[in-house]
Structure formats: C-alpha cells, structure tokens
Symmetry: C2
Amino acid sequence: MKPLSPTDQLFLWLEKRQQPMHVGGLQLFSFPEDAPDDYVAQLADQLRQYTEVTSPFDRRLDTRLSQPVWVHDDHLDLEHHFRFEALPTPGRIRELLTFVSAEHSHLMDRERPLWEFHLIEGLGHRQFAVYIKIHHSLVDGISAMRMIQRMLSTDPSQRNMPPIWDLRGQVTRDNDGDGLSIWRSMVHLLGESGKQLGTVPTVARELLRTINEARKDPAYDSIFRAPRSILNQKITGSRRFAAQSYSMKRIKAVCKAFGATVNDVVTAMCATALRTYLMNQDALPEKPLIAMVPVSLRKDESSEGNQVGVILANLHTDEGDAGERLRKIHQGIQEAKDRYAKMSSDEIINYTALTLAPAAFNFLTGMAPGWQTFNVVISNVPGPKETSYWNGAKLEGMYPVSIAMDRLALNMTLTSYNDQIEFGLIGCRRTLPSLQRMLDYLEDGLAELEQAAAL
Amino acid sequence: MKPLSPTDQLFLWLEKRQQPMHVGGLQLFSFPEDAPDDYVAQLADQLRQYTEVTSPFDRRLDTRLSQPVWVHDDHLDLEHHFRFEALPTPGRIRELLTFVSAEHSHLMDRERPLWEFHLIEGLGHRQFAVYIKIHHSLVDGISAMRMIQRMLSTDPSQRNMPPIWDLRGQVTRDNDGDGLSIWRSMVHLLGESGKQLGTVPTVARELLRTINEARKDPAYDSIFRAPRSILNQKITGSRRFAAQSYSMKRIKAVCKAFGATVNDVVTAMCATALRTYLMNQDALPEKPLIAMVPVSLRKDESSEGNQVGVILANLHTDEGDAGERLRKIHQGIQEAKDRYAKMSSDEIINYTALTLAPAAFNFLTGMAPGWQTFNVVISNVPGPKETSYWNGAKLEGMYPVSIAMDRLALNMTLTSYNDQIEFGLIGCRRTLPSLQRMLDYLEDGLAELEQAAAL
C-alpha cells in the first residue's frame, strides 16, 4: 500500500468524462527481416506469456481512511490490459491514427491498474505498431518515455525482450522535473508537498490568493497577455491524434543558418502551423499566440536531475514573414532563459509556479476564463538517440500522445529519435476540426524557413 | 428541441463510469456470393456516403432551464459515429467477442449524439459483423431491434439499403412496454409520467415509502426471497460479452416433450448454466436463484401494444435433476401468468412497479443491499422470423448486448431469428470471471433436457 503523491492526486481530481488524464505513446516498427507473414500474431502469443506484472503496472487505486492509495491488484486480468488488435483495410498510417484517436478518447476503468498495451497488426509494408496508454497518476511523461526506451535495444539480434509490464526491477519512478512540471508546480505552490491535498475549493482559494498577490508584482505583468482563441474553449471527450516525423538534418540546417536552437526551430514550425490553421478557420487572433514551453535549465553536464523552467513563449503569429518570426521567437526564448540564468533553483520553482497559477486555477474551477496565460502547450521530450529495436523489429518512429484539457484544446508534444523529430498532436476533434492538416502546415513551416535561409 | 422523458432521464442518472447505460446489438453477416475479397472495405466507402443523419441519430443532449433536452446536432461528425474496424489474426468469433467486450465497456461522449455503428472486417469464412451501440436514453431495446430489422430485407437481391442512421421517416419511437419495462415502471411508481423527475433523494424517498407499504401487504411477501450471490456485487467498468446461436428445432422438441413454452425452456437452459457456473466457482447459494423475466401478457392477437408483466421466476438452481427443474420453472411461470390473467391493465402496471421498487431503490441509492428481489435478468426480445439480408449479405446471427448494473452483474438477453435462438450474455468481467464458459453450459443445459425427454 502506497499513498498517492499530491501531484498524482491532482490527475485524478482533474479527470472527467470529457477530459481523460492518461498519456500515451505510439511506436511504429518494421518486421525483422526473416519474419513470417503472421509475425505480429506470433508476437502477441509470446507477449501473453509475460504474466508477471511488475510495479507500477500491478497497482490499482483504493481508498484508505478516505485517502487514495495504490494497492497491489490481486486479480489482475492481463487480457484486459494487453490487447491484440488490427487496422481495417487499407491499413495506412491514416487508419492507425484513427485507431489511436478513438482509443485515446476512452476513459480507463479505475477499478483496475490504469494502463493498456495495444499491439496493432494490419499495417502495410511489413510494419506494425504499439500504442501504450498510461494514466498520468501512474507515471509522468518522462518516466513513460524512459520505460519505453528500456524496452528497446540498439542490438537488432537481441530476442526475448520483455514488454514494459514485465521489466522486473528495471523501472524506477523519476521524480525530477518533466515536460508537465505544471502539475508539480501547482502542488509546490500549495506548500503541501508530501502531504495529502485538501479539497478542490480549498486549493482553488489558495491559488486565487497567490494569483492576486502576483498581479501586484510587476515581474508577472506579462502572464495575462495571451489572446482569446478557438484553442481555448471547453472541450469534448473526442480526440484527434495526428503524428509525423520530420528530418533532424533539415531542422539543424535551419538552426545553423539562423543561429537558433532545435527548440527554437520546432517552436517556429508550430507557430507557422498554428497561424495557417487558424487563418484557414478565419480565427487567427490579432494579438500573437502564447505557448507554454518547458525548457531545460541545466547549467552543466551533470546528470543530476533535469531542471525544467516554463517559458511563456510569444509565437509571433501576427508576423507574416517566417524568417522574421523565427528570429523573434529565438530572441524571446533566449531572454527568458537569461532571466532564469540569474535565478536560484528555489526562485525558478517559485517563478514557474506563479506563472502557471492562473491556468491551474482555471483547470480546477473552470472559472476566470479571462485569465488566459497561454494558448497552447508545446513540449519536447527527449527520446532515444540511436536506431533501436524490440526483439529484432526496428523502431521506425515513436510519437507522444499527450492530454487535451478544457481551454487547452491542443497539445503539441514532440520527441527526438535517431535522425528524426517526431511530432504528436492531440486535440479535441470537435472544437478543432481537421486537426490533422497541421501536419502539412508543420512541413510548410519548415520549408518556409529553408526558403528564408536560402537552403 | 425536445425534453427528455422521465424514463430517459433515469438512464442518464444511473450512468456512471462503472455502469454505462448503452445497449447494443451484434449482427453477423456472410458476404454476398459474388462479392470481391475487399467487399467490407467497399461497403465502408458506400456507408460513408450516407451523410444525412435522421432522428433520433442526430440528437445530442443539451440543457435548457436546468432540464435535459434533445437538440439537433449542427456539427455532427459522421467519422466519430461510423467506424470501420478490423479483427486481429486469426479472426475467429472469439476475437469478435473480445472486440465487442472492449467496445461495450466504453462510456460514450455526452457532447455528441449517443450512438456508434461499427463495421467489422477480418472474420474468416467470408463473414463480417456490425456492432451497433446506442444509449438507452435514445432508444429502448425493442425499438433498437425494430430499427435493425428495418435496415434488413428478406430479398437477397435488394441493394442500396441505407444504414440505420439514414432510415428517413422509417423510424418511430415505440413507447409500449419492452423487456426493460423496469424503468418505465419506476417512473410510473413515482406518478410523474410526462413530467420532469425530481432529484435522486426525492425519488429514493418516494420509492422507500412505497416499499414499506408493500411489505405490509401479503401479496408482495415473495419479493424479498432471492439469496445473496456473486452475481449481486458491485461491478467494475469492464465487460465480457459472450454470444451463441442455439437451434430452435431442438428447443421446440423439448417444449413438446415437457408441455412447456419456448420461454420456459430457455429459462431452464439459463438456470442450468447459472447452476453449473456457480458450482464451478464454489458459489452456488443454497436457496434457489430468482430471475426477473419480462413476459408478454397479450390476451388476444391484436397488435395493439405489447403488454409486458414482470415475473420473478424461481430458477430452482437447488434442484439437481434437469427435467424436474424445467417442470418446476414451467409451473412457477404459469402460476405467475395465471395471477396476471385475473388482473386489469392498471393492476398489472401497479403490481410490476411494486415488484421492482426495491431493485429501483438500490439502483438509485446503492443502499439496502439486503433487499435482493432477484439475482439476474433473463430477457427475450422478438427478432426477425425469416432469413434476412442487408444489401445482399445474409444475416447469419444477431445477438443482443444489454446492460450490467451494480448488484446485477449479469444480463442474459436472447432473441429469435429464423430457426435459431440467439443468446447474448453481458457481465462484469471482474466480478464474473470466465463468463464465456456459460455458452457451453447453456448447450449442456439443452442437452440434459433432451436426455431427460429421451430425445
């Protein structure tokens, strides 16, 4: 028995029918060279043999003295968690994304351990896919990505590699910062770290007090400047997932030409895609969109932790010129980093928490919709640097599937793998129609930058 | 805009994560003789052309003056409702049932019209399936079955037959009794027919008053005699669906030998299956199980309405001899029918409502678990009498998928089609492990009766 941390309790609080709080990952694999045609069905049979379910995958929710706790599930039914499924004809990436969109829309059953592993056959070109879905109260985004990486190997000849639910002794929970540090910041703000959270009204009242103090402080005058947009409506329970890989080589060439970082360039690609998408919907706000972008603040090469600060990046979606837009984004992010460079660790945590307080208040209460501190989340999660394999099957791509929320109808999460940048966009498909077109707009955004750099 | 009837409001009230309130139907079809191998994919393309969505499939929930109403959905997204999907290798009925089990576990999004139509390819033997899921607040079981029948034809050469969401002008809501008349009875009991229901506490208080009056009346002394059993626990959100066809010819031969009705024999088959299942779990109560069995009470052949009474049928699961068990079940059901024969329509409605009041009270409040008036629902819904086709594809079988509830973890619904009786069992897969074995036990139950009749 293990009490839930305050951060993990938050994910349960925030969850509702229209707002499931699970994260996911989609991995695309090629068959090993010598594999038979029914390779995926054979793999499914092998995976069903891994009946030992290790922590945290054996945990289910329970209540002790009215507090939520994790307990070992004595009646775990692997058939519920491991699912072998197929895509319909013609089995293109389009059908795969439709499948993930539907699955990611479904709430999980709180009576059971909150994860699912979907093995998916029926893709063309001797490929198959794995879609993993885990409740955010069970793992954070970075830990999930590390688990998936531990499942993989750089050695194509390695076999008998277990699935993530049977990685005996190999999985530890990472409690350092991650791309969704907004949650930990909220808890920090409440000064309750390590204890149980109170009730929603208590927490909301506390946040409100903090916000009102922050508003008097000129250091925070910038946090209420995001415009209203269609990205910031109430959402429904239906999701659209869109994912694609983009060449790291192309992105790095743009970086070099503009003296920008990879993070600057992918943020600029997102800015262009959002600008085009909103213009086509006749819904581009006059004022520029603001993105919440978690950035790494490590000052040295020590592997101790992964200090993360949150930048409210101006996306300059009012700027018509792509090159100019990148320059301005780069400058804004650089200034924010310079500001962080002068702060101590504690100051950074406080600053981040205060920056996010208005959003946190809105998540919890749905009140004060006028306080739009940012319009969209653009998050970059580190992925494997080398070509990876799972039981001889080559990993062709891996795409994060994150969380859409009320008033944050779109989440753009990306990861790096080998020589690719992998984008995963998740959004409410009702408030954001034809979200999948953003994939083309991201490509257009990159092409425009290449043109601007005369590459 | 159309206010929800009190009955339909009940289904929304009763719905929770662990207890979705949608009903479904699974239809199994053969390819038309001349169909190409990609027949199902072509069919999917044709179905996507039916973009006109007719009532009630165009309705979504809204609230006006704090009352729930149906409104026309101006932004209906057919891709969300019509889904083309596939079964994994080896594509047996087993994979189909696993698929339906998972889909039937998922809550629907209340922001959208509450229905889904799944076209499923990947079955062997040139077969495919359709799984339709509709919220019970949108249609009742009988109406759903009639809609599906209107989609079909007895003419194998007929083509261009629309799917159920585009049956222009052909669908009317049936408001006469159905297999789940428990709901209408509850509303009747509250004397609020045609008006808005109050709040759950008000309704529960009213039910409690009624129950306490009924307990003083010797006519109702039988309604608290059901034993406690594992069928009557709190449920989780995960479902197991099991379905199979049994030969009507065999069942009718048993009827003739025992002088029993088809309904008696299928009830006896269920009794045997339950007895075997519970014995294997070491969980057969000493006292016999009681089933809630809706029966038709039509006295003449007039097609006016479909008067339904509810019988609390003693399943005599304490009786070891199969033939004797059928005789006792037949006698019990006959006595109940005779009792109804002496009653007026109003008396029948009152009697039914009072019989169901304790269960209704428990559904609403989760209190008074000691009042177990019945252990299981066994419901028989009329189906098509002749071989039916949909765009030339022969209907091989159709199986109802009903609702499991807290303290009623299993629902056994059956329907007749052509020369078959089609059983659909839906249950909580956590509280009732290996529920699919009941299909074999139903077959055993029929074989035992044949043996007892020396057939």
